[in-house]
């Protein structure tokens, strides 16, 4: 029931975007954050086989079935999170980066992230003055159940504050910022631990960037429709 094949014809030198018919699952094992349940992961394997050639490419990703919602609470002004419909009390840690000279390693990521889980935390906030963290970071957050709050590269200290105000309009090249943001989203978007994209640290990005990010990162209407049983 979980092997699905579709036939596609791609024109010469063609580049297409193909959306598969959705796959139905009855009561899948859900992915839960640390302390709320198991971090169930499924391996999603996509292969493309070309007639008269054979297997042409394949791609694999550990994937967690989960629904993450968050809204601003009108009473407290704080952000409330729900995972799979269940409210969660966020116990989070601040994360800048693994090593100042970017000597990044899987072992270090695993150790640091497991440490956060052992401290009974369920979220890590990646500060905007650091990195868009790497797939290895997210992989271990998927495994240990750490939700990730990932900020883009804007900080209150460097952008739009101070005397005199520095970088009032953020980086010089807004198109470059958006290109990097979009590519980063594509790199990280399949990780179940990714809970929230945030414009920057203590600062709202310049208006055009902020609106473009909000537009690009809204939940696509396609996924809001209620399928009838």
């Amino acid at each position: 029931e979980h092997v699905h094949t579709e036939n596609v014809i791609i024109p010469a030198k063609g580049h297409i975007q193909h959306t598969f018919n959705q796959l139905f699952f009855y009561k899948p094992e859900l992915w839960w954050p640390n302390g709320m349940g198991k971090q169930n992961l499924y391996n999603i394997l996509i292969t493309v086989v070309v007639k008269e050639f054979g297997e042409s490419d394949s791609w694999m990703q550990p994937f967690g079935f989960r629904k993450i919602e968050s809204d601003i609470d009108s009473v407290t002004g704080g952000r409330l999170f729900k995972i799979n419909g269940e409210p969660i009390f966020i116990r989070g840690g601040n994360w800048i980066l693994s090593d100042g000279l970017l000597r990044l390693s899987k072992e270090r990521y695993r150790t640091d992230i497991k440490f956060h889980a052992d401290m009974n935390m369920n979220m890590i906030r990646c500060w905007g003055g650091g990195l868009a963290e790497r797939p290895d970071f997210y992989h271990f957050c998927d495994i240990y159940g750490l939700l990730v709050w990932q900020e883009f590269w804007i900080t209150g200290d460097v952008d739009g504050r101070g005397v005199p105000v520095s970088n009032p309009n953020g980086p010089l090249d807004h198109d470059l910022f958006m290109l990097c943001a979009r590519d980063t989203v594509k790199l990280l978007r399949n990780h179940p631990s990714l809970a929230l994209w945030v414009g920057g640290n203590e600062q709202v990005p310049p208006k055009d960037i902020n609106e473009a990010l909000q537009q690009d990162l809204r939940l696509h209407p396609y996924f809001i429709t209620q399928f009838l049983s």
């Binding site: 024109p11 086989v49 070309v50 980086p171 910022f177 590519d183 790199l187």
Partner: protein
């Protein structure tokens, strides 16, 4: 024959300061490839990694994390950008078959670069947080391939004021790069502003059709009893004929002790 799939290029790299290398990228990757040696300016490099990471590994500079050693390393504001503009070099083999295609992938470079492969040049545009993928199928050699990458620091590395402060003089904020590198209350300034090939480099071999950036989304109904997995992927046909494909999705749940449920 090269299997379909990804090969990570994370060993056997060399590096040298650009101001100490007389050859250009075409010569380095054709007639005059670099070699190590007592007289050579080339050193073993750390890739993925930054210029400082390589210099620390070779003990050309002290490790800035100990004591006041960071003060002993010249800052880019004083040395100029060329001082931290570095060449990274490597050879590799990749025997591809007919109708196979090879791409060279950089998952992140800080801040801009030019890539030379067997004498062919490609410019990698600016930006610390973007991937670069080059189709190198037609410029590969059957035996040894020579790859050289010259990496330039961020355009606005800034100057660290005497009093320090969060983000130094904030110039780094003009670029799309990590801002902590000008120093913060928790870290001293990073002297090369993290210039380098700081994330994974890989070669991917595919057939005529390759899969790009699939997107997986799950939706839930009836109190999570009913779930749907939505998959979208870009598919690129590199060949000059129509490709009649079958695309398969297989979902396996890993149970305990390595037992898989399909």
């Amino acid at each position: 024959m090269t299997e379909i799939g990804k090969t990570v290029l994370d060993s056997g790299w060399l590096a040298a300061r650009s101001t100490e290398v007389n050859d250009d990228g075409v010569k380095l990757t054709t007639t005059n490839p670099p070699t190590l040696g007592p007289q050579s300016r080339w050193m073993e490099a750390v890739v993925p990694g930054t210029v400082l990471g390589t210099l620390v590994k070779n003990k050309s500079i002290p490790d800035p994390f100990y004591g006041l050693e960071n003060e002993a390393i010249i800052d880019i504001a004083d040395s100029g950008r060329d001082y931290y503009t570095f060449w990274f070099y490597k050879t590799f083999q990749c025997k591809r078959l007919l109708n196979q295609y090879v791409h060279l992938n950089f998952r992140a470079i800080n801040y801009s670069a030019e890539v030379y492969l067997n004498g062919h040049k490609t410019v990698l545009p600016k930006g610390m947080f973007r991937r670069h993928t080059l189709d190198v199928t037609d410029i590969l050699h059957p035996e040894k391939n020579l790859l050289a990458v010259i990496v330039h620091p961020p355009d606005h590395p800034g100057t660290i004021p005497a009093e320090g402060g969060q983000g130094g003089d904030h110039e780094i904020g003009k670029d799309v790069a990590a801002q902590y590198v000008e120093g913060w209350d928790w870290i001293c300034p990073i002297r090369d502003r993290n210039t380098g090939i700081w994330d994974e480099v890989s070669l991917t071999v595919t057939g005529p059709v390759r899969i790009i950036d699939p997107h997986l989304v799950s939706t839930f109904f009836d109190n999570y009893k009913r779930a749907y997995l939505h998959v979208t992927a870009e598919l690129e046909n590199k060949s000059s004929w129509n490709a009649d494909c079958s695309v398969n999705i297989q979902v396996t749940a890993e149970l305990e002790d390595g037992v898989c449920l399909v």
